[in-house]
């Protein structure tokens, strides 16, 4: 196991290195002179040259990359072009809102997936099962921005059950915070709920076909005990993986939902920065979301290996 962990960590180093190169390179992909990104309205050649020197853009690309990387490793991701705020500060400021939304959505999607998925698996090929599989296929095909707009329109504006958008910090007004959380959380949860539900159903069905479940039933255990105590334990392993990956991609999921609901998180920061041509922020959010995604993949792999001793650590997972 230790060897497996070390191996995975070592394999991560070149990948993380490539990830930083891609994140750095993206800014340079932009057509035109990169100094114009920093210059705003300024077009005077002398000032442009000063800016070039100030931001190190007069140096060769590999040197620029290494300087950027040295700063990034120390947590210095540059400053926002629009607000002059340090980028890392801007991200940390917005992280709580994103995490609140993301975790609420994951909690919602997981609990529904576990309950409905189990029912669908137990009552396989029944009407309930058929209905669930149709609904899940529909849910993964529904664009979340459209779902968000439907919710805003129906529950927010027409029926006035929930506020149609906006954010209030939890510590300021817990009740209002939670009321504003409902619609974006449902929006964000729907697609992952469908994926999780299919996984719960299929891994339960897979486990049901095993001998030890038959043994448990033959012992005369109640069906609920067989499911909860015997089947669930093994069926949950792939679901844990799935949820781990969803936690890692919380920023990605939040991009659109936060934009629709005016939720001031990291996803909205990314969208606002793209519209405002604020490239250092875009670069940083891309880097942070890739690294958190990588770390969660690593954590999930280790958790998986720990939960399921049948997995061999000898070969890399490629």
């Amino acid at each position: 196991m230790t060897q497996y962990v070390i191996r995975r960590l070592l394999l991560m180093i070149p990948v993380a290195f490539l990830v930083t190169i891609i994140a750095f390179g993206l800014l340079r992909l932009a057509p035109g002179d990169p100094v114009l990104v920093y210059a705003g309205e300024e077009r005077d050649p002398v000032s442009l040259q000063e800016l070039r020197v100030l931001y190190g853009l007069d140096k060769p690309l590999p040197v620029q990359y290494i300087v950027w990387l040295q700063h990034a490793v120390r947590g210095d991701l540059g400053r926002s072009l629009r607000t002059r705020q340090p980028v890392s500060e801007a991200i940390i400021e917005r992280l709580p809102a994103t995490l609140e939304l993301g975790l609420a959505a994951i909690a919602l999607s997981t609990s529904i997936a576990l309950i409905v998925g189990t029912i669908a698996a137990v009552k396989r090929n029944s009407f309930v099962d058929l209905l669930t599989s149709s609904i899940t296929l529909a849910a993964v095909s529904l664009p979340n921005f459209f779902l968000g707009l439907i919710l805003i329109l129906v529950l927010g504006l027409a029926l006035r059950m929930f506020p149609p958008g906006g954010y209030v910090p939890f510590l300021e007004d817990p009740g209002d915070n939670l009321r504003r959380l409902v619609l974006p959380a449902i929006t964000l949860a729907t697609a992952s709920m469908a994926v999780n539900l299919r996984q719960v159903r299929s891994s339960l069905l897979d486990v049901f076909s095993h001998e030890y479940i038959r043994t448990a039933r033959a012992k005369g255990l109640r069906e609920s005990t067989v499911i909860a105590r015997h089947a669930m334990k093994n069926a949950l392993i792939p679901i844990v993986t799935l949820i781990g990956l969803q936690i890692g991609s919380v920023i990605e999921g939040a991009i659109i939902t936060e934009t629709i609901f005016f939720w001031p998180g990291v996803g909205r920061l990314l969208v606002d920065s793209i519209t405002g041509l604020d490239y250092p922020v875009v670069q940083a959010v891309v880097l942070v979301s890739a690294l958190s995604f990588m770390l969660s993949t690593l954590a999930v792999d280790m958790l998986y290996a720990w939960l399921d001793p049948r997995i061999s650590y000898g070969r890399s997972r490629t």
Binding site: L27, A30, P143, L149
Partner: protein, 276 residues
């Protein structure tokens, strides 16, 4: 055909939906009752009715006509970006899997690096860097699609490489390229067809998301995602029809390709039945 219908009704249903979408896109000028970008202020914000089936937007443009023409953007992004992903992904996968060694190591680390980015974040970042244009959205979604094909192809190659028929071909002196293209690739094609269908669903959804964020096609071009974004400003007046048409269109298109992909997976490759 009737035999096929009985054996695989879901493939036929999915295939019909996809074919219907393609026909709508191809014959858009014949189907759309109005010019999708013609402004008519006297008809602004009309609710759905006999004259305008899905209503009109604030500029008096017919929503139904825009939805019909929007299918052209969505489907061409789907086809082109999936082709980009397919061509590059499969080539890299074939080479990495068959040649092995250093080529494999380097190629797979590059693929790992692409996979390290959440798909939508990468697509958004590439499009933002290249500039908000529909062509760039196609490239971005295509790049995001590469890793899945590479891994799938490489896995198939690795499992086939040591099989007797490949060894036999190698023994009688068939050139490497020919072995890869004529003997290995066809064996991997079932899994690739399934992936292509599911990837098209993702591509249409991603294009809609990019256009919704203003990174895809630009006004006045009719595009489902962008039209929904545009309609947002009339949401508070409860002018729901401006978003309903394009939203249902995206849903139908993505659903069709997902449905077809699922059905193909069950029919073509039971081993792949990733019940997820």
């Amino acid at each position: 055909m009737s035999w096929y219908l009985r054996r695989n009704p879901r493939i036929v249903i999915g295939g019909t939906l996809v074919a219907g979408l393609l026909l709508i896109a191809i014959f858009a000028p014949l189907i759309a009752p109005y010019d999708p970008i013609a402004v008519d202020a006297s008809q602004a914000l009309e609710p759905p009715g006999s004259l305008h089936w899905l209503g009109t937007d604030d500029l008096g443009r017919d929503v139904f006509s825009r939805v019909v023409y929007g299918s052209r953007i969505s489907l061409s992004v789907g086809v082109i970006s999936v082709s980009i992903g397919f061509i590059f992904g499969v080539s890299i996968g074939l080479l990495a899997g068959y040649l092995g060694g250093l080529v494999d190591l380097l190629a797979m680390r590059a693929i790992d690096a692409l996979l390290a980015f959440p798909a939508l974040v990468l697509a958004i970042a590439i499009t933002a860097a290249l500039g908000p244009q529909i062509q760039n959205a196609m490239i971005a979604i295509g790049v995001v699609a590469i890793p899945a094909y590479t891994r799938l192809t490489r896995g198939q190659v690795l499992s086939l490489r040591e099989r007797d028929f490949i060894l036999a071909a190698r023994m009688v002196g068939v050139p490497t390229l020919r072995i890869v293209l004529r003997h290995i690739f066809p064996n991997a094609s079932n899994a690739l067809i399934v992936q292509a269908s599911l990837a098209t669903a993702f591509a249409i959804l991603a294009e809609a998301a990019l256009s919704f964020l203003g990174l895809g096609s630009q006004p006045p071009q009719p595009s489902w995602g962008q039209d929904i974004n545009y309609s947002q400003r009339y949401l508070s007046n409860l002018k729901w029809w401006m978003s309903a048409g394009p939203g249902i269109a995206i849903f139908t298109a993505v659903f069709a390709f997902n449905f077809l992909g699922d059905a193909l997976r069950d029919a073509l490759d039971p081993r792949l039945r990733r019940a997820a």
